[in-house]
Amino acid sequence: MYQYDQYDQAMVDARVAEFRDQCERRLKGELSEDQFKPLRLMNGLYLQLHAYMLRVAIPYGTLSAKQMRMLGHIGRKYDRDYGHFTTRQNIQYNWIKLEDAPDILADLATVEMHAIQTSGNCIRNISSDQFAGAAADEIADPRPWAELLRQWSSFHPEFSYLPRKFKIAVIASEEDRAAMRLHDIGIQLVHNDAGELGAKFYVGGGMGRTPMIAPEIRDFVPADELIHYAEACLRVYNRYGRRDNKYKARIKILVHELGKDEYTRQVEEEFAHMKTLGLNPPVAELERISTYFADPDFDQNAPDDLDMSDPDFRIWVEQNTHAHKQSGYAIATISLKPTGGIPGDASSDQIDLMADLAEQYSFDELRVTHSQNIVLPHVKKADLYALWQKLDAAGLAPANLDLVSDMIACPGLDYCSLANARSIPLAQKISERFADVKRQQDLGELKLKISGCINACGHHHAGHIGILGVDKKGFENYQLSLGGSGAEDTSLAKITGPGFDEDGIVDAVETVTNLYLKTREDGERFIDTYRRIGMAPFKEALYG
């Protein structure tokens, strides 16, 4: 894992001091809320329905046990004993007091963490593949590249007042576990013909009210030009992105309105200029960072077989573990989606337990996934049974990864001032309706995603089944959509027709899954069947 040197630590410490001063000026009334807002937002502090909400950055979703424990501590000391892991691999606390915020940031800084640029119109926390460094199918670890970008984007003097927020994801395998093409910039590490590692750039994806899939704008940026190219992409956006209308301000609109070719041409021109300035850190810096992400000390002789005679354990292994690049090891995902629970929530005690287990079984590492779960990336197969038993005892072993109850849901009307409808109670009802794991396994991979309003924090556009809360004459109403995907086969979901009330939408989900069960062909997932037979039969079943 990356470790701060004195420079990184000094940056974060300076920021804590600066924010303490800004909070004091706000509390004394020297700063108006208008002036304070962009400053607190750059430190992850939102004002929500009931309280301040603090969003803590988890760069590329990677945590040590010590950092994880700090997250538990913050929940316990400053919040209501829990935290909420988000789709951007961060954690949010919902009940924060303004006067505590500087202390929280100071606590975080002691474990090399911060809330820098987790909101505001700046470059946000860089996200990545939760299986980075462990996945059998990756060509390199994407995290050193993400860390290089993190440092470059931290307190970037030119790009702190962009037209709108800016999200970057970096992956390094063909399978996309990070919804890479739904980011403002999506980067996929690739080899060129000469076998060198570089970055393929996709620009202009995003969700929100106008979802778009990012087009590829360059097939290869060499390692020693990454920052030049990113800087060029951002400068064109900062200068020409729309600022007249907040809803049209994301880079996706610029790329769409200019056209991909014209945007690319402008970026290339700016890129040529950047290269003359020598702004890119040398490759030695990427190499320095990479040494922190070297493989842990794997046991090369770890046995590869697994006793799966316990049927409950078997289900969990089948559903929640993935192939590791090292034989004898597995990647284990801890689902934060128990039946009837709040997707992504974990209590401080659970957070502590996960930290202990990471220390004991996973070389001190954890990951947060964009579908709001936690990963132990490096578990010896021989340890899986013991691990599972401990998770199960703490309610952390739902065997539902990628199944219908492994939902993404935004905070919705329970917390969010922008919401039209509640997301959490709906997620709870759906998970109760489909509580039977056998039934879920029979339904197979099914990504259900719920947003409480058009901002799409819950990724509903990318759901095999997406649900959007709308306000219909003062009543909460839910629109159903089908056919989205945030994986390498990225697609945007389409609305089925008129919306439903809360009970109606749960029935509607059952109706479409029943149709799938009836019509599927061998090996087809829900999304495959939908793509084969199209919307009409689903409409017929829902409204016919």
Binding site: W152, P157, F159, S160, Y161, N238, L279
Partner: protein, 142 residues
């Protein structure tokens, strides 16, 4: 023409009132010009030699186009006064400095001490920009 509140250059502030960018083409001997966020700083590049002051206006602090304009001018070798005017607040000073501004004319005067602290916010910086500071990565591999 009031002097800028903060002036970080050795020489003295330009006393000419800047003319609007739109009128610049006609006033071929002007030495001071003002650009708005939507104006293309690059179209000034052929005239940099004659300019003693470029005033980049920030009608609203949240509109960050002026930062790009400033850097573009410095990257092209402009060495005259680069003034930030308008909605310029304490918490933007350090970024502005890093993008090449060396003169600051906030529409509401700022607290002198707070500004001094703000200008000195970062001991070290991650990016190489136009302020000639050695970025952290260069120090690491120095």
């Amino acid at each position: 023409m009031a002097n800028p509140q903060f002036y970080l250059r050795e020489d003295t502030p330009c006393s000419d009132a800047p003319i609007a960018f739109a009128d610049f083409g006609d006033a071929s001997n002007a030495i001071a010009v003002r650009i708005e966020p939507g104006d293309d700083a690059r179209s000034l590049l052929p005239h940099l030699g004659q300019l003693a002051m470029i005033d980049i206006s920030f009608p609203a602090f949240g509109d960050g186009r002026g930062y790009s304009s400033a850097r573009i001018l410095r990257e092209a070798g402009y060495e005259g006064e680069l003034r930030a005017s308008g909605d310029v607040l304490i918490d933007q000073l350090s970024n502005m400095r890093r993008c090449g501004f060396d003169s600051f004319a906030p529409s509401t005067p700022l607290d002198e001490n707070a500004a001094k602290t703000a200008f000195a916010t970062w001991d070290d910086v991650y990016q190489k920009t136009v302020d000639a500071r050695t970025p952290i990565w260069a120090k690491r591999h120095g």
